[in-house]
C-alpha cells in the first residue's frame, strides 16, 4: 500500500515535471522552445548598426513602423542558405503582388562577418533577386553587435568542419515596434501568412 502511494505520487510528480519541461508537451527541442517563448514574450531587438549589400549603413531602428522578416545566412553556404534565398524571393514577389511593399521589409543577415564582404552580400542578393529596397542583405559591423543580435534572436551558429556553419533555419518576424514576436518555418506560405497577420490583413 505504502509503495503504491509512494510510486503513484512520484509518477504524478514526474508527469508534472515532464509537462513543465516540455512546455505542456509542446516543445521537445530547443528550437520549439525558442518559438513558444518568443510568441509568449516578445523580445526587443537591440538597435545595432549594419552594413548592407550596397555598402550603406543600416540601422535596425530605421525599420520602425514596418514589419521586418529576418533570416540568418552566410553567403558561401552551399545548401540551406540558398534555399532560404529562394524562399525569400518568393515572399518578396507575393509582398509586391499584395501591395504590401510599404508595410514590410525583408532582411537577410550574414553571421559570417569576417568573410561576407559587401561584394559577396551583393552577389548573394543579386543571385536571389534582393532589390535593395524591400529586401536587403546585410552584416553586423562588429563581433559584439553580431553576438548581441544572435542572442536576442536566439540563433545558434555552430562551425561545421565540412560546410562552414550550421544554424537555425527559420524566419523571424519583427513587429513595427522592433520586437521579435514570431518565429516560423521558411515555407513561403507560412511566412506570408505570419506577415499578413502582423500587418493586420488576416
Amino acid at each position: 500500500m505504502r509503495t503504491l502511494v509512494a510510486a503513484g505520487l512520484i509518477l504524478a510528480a514526474g508527469l508534472g515535471v515532464f509537462t513543465w519541461a516540455s512546455d505542456g508537451w509542446r516543445a521537445v527541442t530547443a528550437e520549439g522552445a525558442r518559438r513558444l517563448a518568443v510568441a509568449a514574450h516578445p523580445v526587443t531587438i537591440p538597435g545595432v548598426t549594419m552594413e548592407d549589400m550596397d555598402g550603406h549603413v543600416l540601422h535596425l531602428s530605421q525599420f520602425k513602423g514596418r514589419v521586418v522578416l529576418v533570416e540568418f545566412i552566410y553567403t558561401t553556404c552551399p545548401t540551406i542558405c540558398q534555399e532560404l534565398g529562394a524562399g525569400f524571393a518568393e515572399v518578396l514577389e507575393r509582398v509586391r503582388k499584395r501591395g504590401m511593399g510599404n508595410q514590410a521589409r525583408l532582411l537577410s543577415i550574414s553571421f559570417d562577418i569576417d568573410n561576407d564582404t559587401p561584394e559577396l552580400l551583393r552577389h548573394y542578393g543579386q543571385h536571389h533577386g534582393a532589390d535593395g529596397t524591400i529586401w536587403r542583405v546585410a552584416r553586423p559591423t562588429s563581433r559584439r553587435d553580431l553576438e548581441a543580435l544572435l542572442a536576442a534572436f536566439g540563433v545558434k551558429v555552430v562551425p561545421d568542419p565540412l560546410y562552414g556553419f550550421q544554424h537555425n533555419v527559420a524566419v523571424h518576424v519583427v513587429d513595427r515596434e522592433g520586437r521579435l514576436v514570431r518565429i516560423v518555418d521558411t515555407e513561403p506560405d507560412e511566412v506570408v501568412a505570419a506577415l499578413m497577420r502582423q500587418v493586420g490583413r488576416l
Binding site: T3, A7, G14, V17, F18, A21, V28
Partner: protein
Amino acid sequence: MTPVLPKPPLLAGVALWCLLALPAVRGALEARLATHVLVELLGLVVAGYLIGIALRPLLTPPLRNWNRHGLTGLALAISCGAVWMLPRWIDAALESPAVETVKFASLPLLLGLPLALSWNQLGTILRGFVKANFLSMLLFLGWLYIAAPVRLCNSYLIDDQRLLGTAFIALAGLLSLLWSLPLFFSRGSVVDGGPIPTH
C-alpha cells in the same frame, strides 16, 4: 548493528562521478553529441547505479515497505529519465550552469541510484517489460536521430545527430543480444545478467 556497505562499488561510483565532473573531461565529452549522451549521461547513471549497489544493505524493512517490488524506485528512475530524453535539455545543460548542475545531480541520484535499489526486487515480468520498452525506445530514438531533417539539438551538428542515432540502434542490438543470451544457456528461471537499462 549497522550493515556493512560493500566498498568497491561505492568507491567506483564516486570516482566515476568525480571523473565525469572534471572540467577537461566534461569539455571533451560535451564537444560531440554522441559522447555527451552515450558516455557522459550514461556514465552518470552508471555512477549512481554503482553507489546504489553499495547502499542496498541500507534498505532495511521499514524503508523497504515504501519500495515493494522496486516499484517506487522504478517510478523515480523512469520519471527522471523521461525528462532527460528531451533534446532541449541537452542544449540547456550546455548553456546554463544551473541545468548542468541539475544534470550531474539528478542522473546519478534520481535515476542510477533508485534503479540499483529496485532492479533486483522487480518481478521477472516487470523486468522484461522494462527491458522491452527500453529497447523499443532506443530503436525509436535511433530512427528519429537518423531521419530528422533538422537539428534536434541546436548546439550540435546534424552529422553528430545521425551518429548518435546509429549508436542508439547499435546499443539496442547489443542489449537485445546480451539480454536474450541467458535464455539459451539457463535452465529453469532466467537469471538477469544484462547491463543497466538507462537512456
